[in-house]
Subunit: 168 residues, 2 copies
Amino acid sequence: MIVLALISTSLSGSIALSTEAEENASPVFGVTLPAGYRDWQFISVAHEAGNNNDIRGILGNDIAMKALKEGKLPFPDGSIIVRLAYEYVSSERNNAIFGREQSFVAGAPTNVQIEVKDSKRYANTGGWGYGQFENGKANPSVKIVNSCFACHAKLPSNADFVFTTYSR
Amino acid sequence: MIVLALISTSLSGSIALSTEAEENASPVFGVTLPAGYRDWQFISVAHEAGNNNDIRGILGNDIAMKALKEGKLPFPDGSIIVRLAYEYVSSERNNAIFGREQSFVAGAPTNVQIEVKDSKRYANTGGWGYGQFENGKANPSVKIVNSCFACHAKLPSNADFVFTTYSR
């Protein structure tokens, strides 16, 4: 009985791990949230109005940052760019201080989008794999993740499929 | 003659260095641009409309980031927060791709503002010293640098005179 119980625990442990791994990888591309991405260096900022209505910071890992700072595109394999989006919030507190409606700040996180450069693995999508994450979990929608490349592919070829440029 | 010429060179060298140091320190507070600040971790983003009409990323040094992530304010001495502002630019390229006017990105840098926590040195201004920099040079305006604290002092006391909060 003791032996059986141990086997049972071990099996359920494996299953749990496997399920968790799948939850955290994007469909189609298998992109995961990289460890420590929130502490990466800052590339730039943007505001998307319309359906997104977010304000976002874009960060890069060391490989991506080196390419961006040196202006050497296409990005080398191993480059990862992370886009953190937040609700676009009019700050009543700041507006009261400034005496006018002018201040828009980051509210609650909406989602995190990640693009990973691997020219062999992602050869069919310009060398980039994509993923979108909400609350640390990969969005399972194939439609959403496929829409990433469809849109990035519309950029001029010298952008290497990346919207953001480095802000000095 | 040769000796005199050397002395003269040495003197003008010292004067040049001294002038450069003064140019790069803010009036009133003597705040300088910290080495490597552009590579610091990302705190949050904001858009200020109105006279500024900028979009900005806010970065922090390790001491400030630790306090922000742990939610432990007031900030300890040695905390430095850097606000990088850029022209708020409607991206025609992105709008053409998205099929609507929705995308606002960072244009040319406008200025960098820095606040340094030193509760003894800056005891008269809540423990914070301020500086504004354009193209790497300290803005010499006493009026501008004094307006920093005047505005930050209007924040609720639990903000420790800092507008930005950490975006997760």
